[in-house]
Symmetry: D2
Subunit: 355 residues, 4 copies
């Protein structure tokens, strides 16, 4: 069986490199086109990328000639976008008009009511928004979005608890890795021996995206965002990869830590049932050691597609229904490229392009 | 006027070195005795210490011969203790019995009802517990304690808000520096490119000590701990010095961020009125830039004796009375040696040894 | 075919963990016994080790009960030693007396004339010293040593050049990783934002071991150390794994950088011919990018068993025969456990225990 | 006496900030004009600078309005340039034409025969090149240059040895701090847990500048570069500030380490004799501890204007005249802004603008 030809836009950035890495070993997809900034166009991928992953550049991609984001060839079926926000919307809409299925990591359009914002294990049914999208837009193709990195990791750990006990209030403090800002986003002089307690626009993204992802898709094809009070404080720490989040939740119904750990540990969803190639066998790994999760030790769990939860504890002083835990996930794999690929698999499997 | 002769126990550790650094320039106190582990006894301080501060070893101390913790000479008036927990209680009690005033950074005895646990700007009146201590114990001297580093920084920022608006609920996530565990406490292989989301015994200390410090001294000479629900999550991050704390509080009365910033910025207390030499002119510095405080830039504010607060914001989704802020303080200066010296100054000034 | 039962001593340290990791997937060897300090004895390996590698503890070892270094069972054939220097000699000699083949990473005895100090691709023939060892010592077993980590990496890159052009003078400046000092050897407070330009005893080891390894085994069974003037300066840098070495050599015969790169790139030796399981297909990888090798990107090349060389340049100002290059290798894999396993493979294959 | 009005160009960068910091406390100079990129023009300095030094922005400069590099007011006497190489030459020449004395940290023009490249303690007499410069160029003002950061530190430690014993051969391996590439020059993702063994154009600068600085000014007003074979390898390490250099020299006459230490320790030169305000009392500090210098502990020695030398040892195997040492200096103070200010002081004191 032939592989599905795909393209990666923004292929030289950090998320772009993760796309290349994941897709180079993919059983269904084959990268046949890469695009980056104009100054790279016409050159070989291996000659323009500052490759920073410890695996070598995949041979099949190394020799591709870098093209423009506007010249994606017609025979490409799925376009993965790791474009910067400034140009993402323009390019992605033009590609969707031309008929491509665009799976995008860029933030613009994520909150559009007819664009599915997917964390596949959590809200795979939202993919049905594509029907609404088709009706409303004059596009021959589609746009699907993966959430902000912090939100992917958060909602994957929240969903099993939310489903079982309900959540009334949510407070999150994050410690986010350098790679979250891209290859050159955080100058070493600013973060070495330091923490920066602020990340531009991040907190609003986490609040709004979390509510959309945990929202219900109505029969009329609309996602009703979850009505959930959220407070988020995001910080940047001197860690290469792996976002850590300290989560405090007030559940609707009382739950014991041991029950929550059971539910998280056993959580499986449609991607696991469909055996999608990039779906981790355990979306949530629970560690019982009191000093886990740790970014360096846990970020590659499940090939970077699982999140790791630890320190599930009752905050007794605050009341019976307050629980805390710490969750850690790989921000450029689970939090970006990996989830986008998982979305493309879900789309391929469920929307007819069966594989 | 002659200086008051003081001793430093545990003088070669990180807090010990900070004691030496602060005291070497002190207008009232003069270090005349240093003690460390038995294997250093009899050698010159400069020859046994692995001095890691960027100022050189003060000349007046470099040549002192290191003695035993059991041989503090009688003419010493104040003994500063940076002893490890394992031996602190035994040594400190024996010194208090002999008549020394011991100001200690070690955790044992901090929660004893007749031992003042002092963060001078916050609860200087608790020094009156010394009268109870004198009555109850067969000691010729005294023991006074400074709080755990995280607690000093937290309560200095909390007190002005608590005094004005009351606090009903408190949640804190900390990102603590390597130096909090001492010179050799955190192996580089475990913390480089990593976070450890757990610090042994730290969370309970913060909860119990905060309630004691914010508690009221009754006329009967008893501190009634504040009844305040607290949740604390402590983590270790790859930062040399400076503990950062993300603080969420539910105030009793509604307060606007601008009011809180005013109150913090203008907070002064007895140490400032008495012009104690180590008291910072501004105990709390408020930064309005959205990306401050930062450990490397703010830890030495007020010579390391001020804490810096930023990101004072209302968490509107949680309700009118929820406020968040980020506070940063130098954990081995304000959080340890500096506060201990400030306590000794308060003691000297108010308990009769006037200077 | 049954696997050969092996033991790992010092199994909980960093090199010990690398032994466990490498051996758990080994086609010939099976870890059946692990030993560590007395306080761990009797407990399960998984319960006493502070496992810090990103792969999980291998299941086959996790449940082994930790034993004493003195109680290695008789059915073990090869004992891998990652013991601290202080006790290594005593234990290893006693095991060799009892009949075990001990392959050791510990420094004592490395310079003994009848103990082979092996970097298999470089001096595999020195294994014949075992005959001398057998004659001279009253041992039923053997002791074989791998070199110091810096020396392994250095000599693997030097040997092909030495063989082809001869070397008259050697100067090396190293930048060594934290893990070289073991799990707790370098406190984070001392190395963060810092370099320590000194490593205890390291420079002498590099000089003497390099000369022994490059020395010739005479027909009379003696290794004549190479007569080569060496200057070495070793430093510790804030890098987790991977020693970098800047090497300046004066060759006996003039050589062009391009020739040297060819020779390095094509270097193969007995371990490659014998297809020993742990032998990398390319012992030396040459990178032509001007900013390589880099520790984080290159340390795992060849599963951590290859060294990577870059910046091969002529130092024209010094004369026609001066060459510089930069070499990087994984200090706890190629520089320790990996090379020890490779030695055991060489021993097994060539000394009769055929597999 | 009124202070001399000075300007700082490139005032918002890292070297620019160091200029502001040093000049704000200067007894002779007063910053009256600051310039930065066009997009900052017209705004207050405090509002456009991303100030990253731990001392606060000096009040006297915070409120200056940022101007253009082309609009330096006529009443400014000395212009300090921290401009990027791309525009430095154009701007500096145009300012010199207009009559300003430009003291520049930018690399262009450093090797021009009539432009003094000054490390004041080493070659203060080269300032007499200004007479040649005046004759040859149609400028009303002057241009003076400080050397590349690595070269300043190197030559300050070399000069006393060179003067006494002569140097026949020089080899240097550097470990350079992040700040050497400016505020945003080194992305954190590339240098965390890593070393980059290459710095663009750096090695050639060190070789050529060192020879010019150590060269002799002839009576005919020409600097004859020293004829000295040099090999340099430069690397970037994860250290904030402070370049470390491992230096190997072959002296012309044999010298003992103890003699060299004496000579370095006692080295003084014209800046010390003239008591120039920024001249350190000891240009070279010798540490005898075997693990010094260290960047974090030694970079601020002499207010960042001294270099620290350690590990002075004879490399006996290479021959009687080979010496090694390790030198460390603050790259943006001694290596840039501080030396530029020292040059301006030397110029002011010796060229007639007496103060």
């Amino acid at each position: 069986m032939d592989k599905i030809p795909v393209a990666v836009l923004g292929a030289t950035g950090l998320v772009g490199q993760r796309f290349i890495e994941i897709l180079s070993k993919h059983p269904w997809f084959e990268v046949e086109y890469v695009a980056a900034s104009e100054r790279s166009a016409g050159l070989k991928y291996a000659d323009v990328v500052n490759w920073v992953l410890s695996n070598e550049i995949p041979g099949s991609v190394a020799n591709l000639v870098v093209g423009s984001v506007y010249d994606v060839p017609d025979d490409i079926e799925i376009v993965f976008s790791a474009l910067p926000s400034s140009i993402a919307e323009l390019v992605e809409v033009s590609l969707a008009r031309r008929g491509f299925t665009v799976v995008s990591n860029a933030s613009p359009l994520r909150m559009e009511p007819d664009i599915p914002l997917l964390n596949p294990e959590v809200n795979h049914d939202h993919i049905n928004l594509l029907k609404v999208q088709r009706r409303r837009r004059a596009w021959k193709g589609y746009i699907l979005k993966n959430p902000n990195c912090t939100t992917v990791i958060l909602t994957l750990s929240l969903a099993p608890i939310f489903n079982e006990y309900g959540i009334e209030q949510l407070m999150v403090t994050t410690m986010q890795a350098i790679s979250g800002a891209g290859l050159r986003g955080v100058p070493a002089y600013l973060i070495t021996d330091n923490i920066i307690p602020y990340i531009e626009k991040e907190e609003v993204k986490v609040m709004t995206e979390t509510r959309k992802i945990l929202g219900k898709l109505s029969e009329r094809g609309k996602v009703e965002p979850l009505s959930l009070p959220i407070a988020v404080t995001t910080t940047r720490v001197p860690v290469l990869d792996g976002h850590m989040e300290v989560v405090y939740i007030k559940t609707s119904n009382e739950a014991e830590p041991s029950e929550i750990m059971d539910i998280l540990e056993n959580f499986k969803s449609l991607p696991q049932e469909l055996k999608l190639p990039t779906a981790p066998s355990k979306p949530v790994i629970v560690r019982k050691e009191k000093d886990r999760p740790q970014p360096r030790l846990d970020r590659l769990a499940g090939n970077g597609m699982s999140v790791t939860v630890g320190r599930v504890e009752k905050m007794e002083e605050l009341g019976d229904r307050w629980i805390q835990y710490v969750v850690l996930g790989h921000n450029t794999i689970r939090g970006a490229a990996g989830t986008a690929v998982l979305i493309a698999e879900l789309y391929t499997k469920t929307m007819g392009l069966s594989h």
